[in-house]
């Protein structure tokens, strides 16, 4: 397993590599530690698969360097980099048994039969494939087939990293969490470096110690699930993480307060000064579960028009129109509203201030 360094790495597709763009991946420098679990998260076209292919060696970058444990691998092909890959669809020799599928990468490297047997047994046990070992891969259900693909990646002890590209796409929703659990256990027990590409926040946040959120070829934030939720570095991260995402309201700054539509909220002047330094357009963000409903108009309450009230069984989801925007509110189950107008309170410590879409750190808090 290896420490992976990305040094000013960038990529543009097309006939004229090195030209000014458009970048599929904008210049980026990062260090990923050995045996870490990372997820690359973003919508289609955000550059996450490009980044994965640069790491595996399927693509050679138009710019920058890539190092594994300090060794420059930028010009090496996937085989020389010693990378294992798991794809969206299981890649198997379907006429072979499960055992032979798992043994294949080891036999290829000239392992002796007894070592092959014991390593295959070990990996099969971890993936709960032991009883399937004598069966042919062909007839097995998709989740078992995908576990075999994963097993083929894990069975070698010398790989620098295992890269997974949307590996749960073909898995039935009811089985996904079982495989997510398996991946987590595999990471803990085998201490392998795993890099996982997905557009699904559940998969990314569950799997990874650190999540790399991308959009339009740019890395917007690298953080733990909690950091992404509480302190999104960019409005896109706020919106993309959480279901529904963070509410974003345009606001205007005064010396010691902000205007949200017709309502003035007092704020720390140091925070507002920092925002003015950082940009010219401002938004306040708040998570749907942090908005408080109140029944009467108070000076700091925002009037809102109720657009929809949906009982979700576990909670109530409201959509309201407020201060010129649409807001999602996650309220307790059984909340009922008798009027079309309601009032909202936005707790000060739950607000995130953005200037030109970038988060402005609150004074006294860690950036």
């Amino acid at each position: 397993m290896a420490r992976i360094e990305l040094v000013d790495l960038a990529h543009a597709y097309g006939a004229n590599p090195g030209a000014a763009g458009p970048w599929a991946l904008r210049p980026l420098s990062m260090n990923w530690r050995d045996a870490g679990a990372y997820a690359l998260l973003g919508p289609s076209g955000c550059g996450k698969t490009t980044l994965l292919n640069l790491i595996s060696g399927l693509l050679t970058p138009t710019h920058g360097r890539l190092r594994f444990d300090g060794r420059d691998v930028t010009q090496l092909d996937p085989r020389e980099r010693n990378i294992a890959q798991v794809f969206q669809f299981p890649v198997l020799y379907d006429t072979m048994t499960v055992f032979d599928n798992l043994a294949f990468p080891l036999r290829n490297r000239g392992w002796k039969a007894p070592q092959v047997r014991s390593r295959v047994q070990e990996v099969a046990e971890l993936l709960e494939l032991t009883t399937d070992l004598p069966r042919r891969a062909r007839g097995l259900p998709p989740d078992a087939q995908q576990k075999i693909s994963l097993g083929r990646g894990l069975v070698r002890t010398d790989v620098a990293a295992v890269l997974l590209d949307e590996p749960l796409t073909v898995i039935d929703p009811h089985l996904k969490w079982l495989l997510r659990r398996k991946l987590k256990q595999v990471h803990q027990q085998l201490q392998v470096s795993l890099i996982y590409v997905t557009h699904d926040q559940v998969e990314a946040l569950t799997f990874a110690e650190e999540v790399v959120v991308m959009n339009h070829g740019e890395v917007l934030q690298v953080g733990t699930p909690r950091e992404l939720y509480d302190a999104p570095a960019h409005t896109f991260v706020g919106h993309f993480i959480g279901s529904p995402g963070m509410n974003l309201l345009p606001c205007a700054l005064e010396e010691r307060s902000v205007w949200l539509g017709p309502v003035q909220l007092p704020m720390d002047p140091r925070w507002l000064a920092a925002a003015r330094q950082a940009g010219t357009t401002y938004q306040l963000g708040i998570r749907p579960d942090a908005v408080e409903l109140c029944t009467a108009a108070t000076p700091d309450a925002l009037a809102a028009q109720v657009r929809s009230v949906q009982s979700m069984g576990t909670h109530t989801l409201l959509q309201v129109e407020c201060a010129g925007g649409l807001l999602w509110i996650r309220a307790a189950a059984g909340v009922s509203l008798t009027t079309d107008t309601t009032y909202l309170r936005l707790p000060r410590d739950k607000l995130v201030l953005f200037a030109d879409q970038r988060r402005v750190a609150a004074p006294g808090a860690v950036a």
């Binding site: 076209g45 969490w177 659990r181 559940v202 699930p225 919106h239 279901s243 995402g245």
Partner: protein, 369 residues
Amino acid sequence: MSLKLQGVAQQVGGVVHLHPLDLALAPSQINVVLGTTLAGKTSLLRVMAGLDPPTRGRVLDHGQDVTGRSVRARNLAMVYQQFINYPSLTVRENIASPLQCQRRPATEVRARVAAIAESLRLTPFLDRRPAELSGGQQQRTALARALAKDAELLLLDEPLVNLDYKLREELRAELLQLLRERSTTVVYATTEPLEALQLGGQLLVLVEGRLLQAGPTLEVFHRPASLAAARAFSDPPLNVMPAVFDAATGTARVLGHWDLPLAPEACNVLRTQGIQELLLALRPHQFRVDARSAQHCALEGPVVLAELSGSDTYLHLRCNDVPLVGQFPGIHAFTLGALARLYLDPRDFLGFSLEGATLFAPPAAGAHH
């Protein structure tokens, strides 16, 4: 619109896709068909659409037998999982195509296409062809074409399943708003219990080709007719715990280890029917990380996995070797393998016989909290 299915069954090459079933769609509402992959959702929609004739039974439209009548002869539209558009036509021509089939005047076609394109945010792409669009825009086009037809019956077969997670969330909210503004009867097939709850309306629970329950969505959620229906309508999975009831004390020994007091109504049912062994079930969100009241009891076990959805944490435990999952709002950190507690209020329990028939359900969600 009134569509009824009478004794409809479907078999393909000796494989049963649908067991005999009767149903009536709720007119001018969203009818959600909830079931896992291969539960028979697509088979059911195709029979409703007249795309496949059923092996047995009748399809009645306004009381008229339309079994096996071709789609073209009926006033309905269907949208599929795959993004299906006319590849050689522009977005504008795609949306206009059903109106041109109906030989509507050109001015009306123009106006309708413009309005529908606007509501589905397709206006900037009207002159593009499907291949030049993202997946989300392609499916918006297919939805726009179906809505343009203004059919009495709109069949949507997992229309959002092939879209990115976030896109799915946005388009679902928009689609719901558009459908609420219309009087169309909608059938919407999904594998996701949460999506079913968000769509609301009427729910049909389909499990292995059997229609297990039909009724208002929230009612089915709170009062499942069977263990199988309750399982189908729970994501993360329903927690099912074997229990033994002691009529003398009114308590149940849960998972062979914990003695918990049951609600008086539940005790009555069990005493009347002389039941000792049963299954107690709890939805994941009914577990809590802390004791809210004196009524709360705790189960304990090692943490198997903590999943984060972005807004919730799903905590998987093994309690006395039975896998359980709790759902908690917000992001919580747990150490794998460490002991954790799940608090519960025994009054939230759903009770099922060992055969899976419903014995009791709490009166209403959260009424006692």
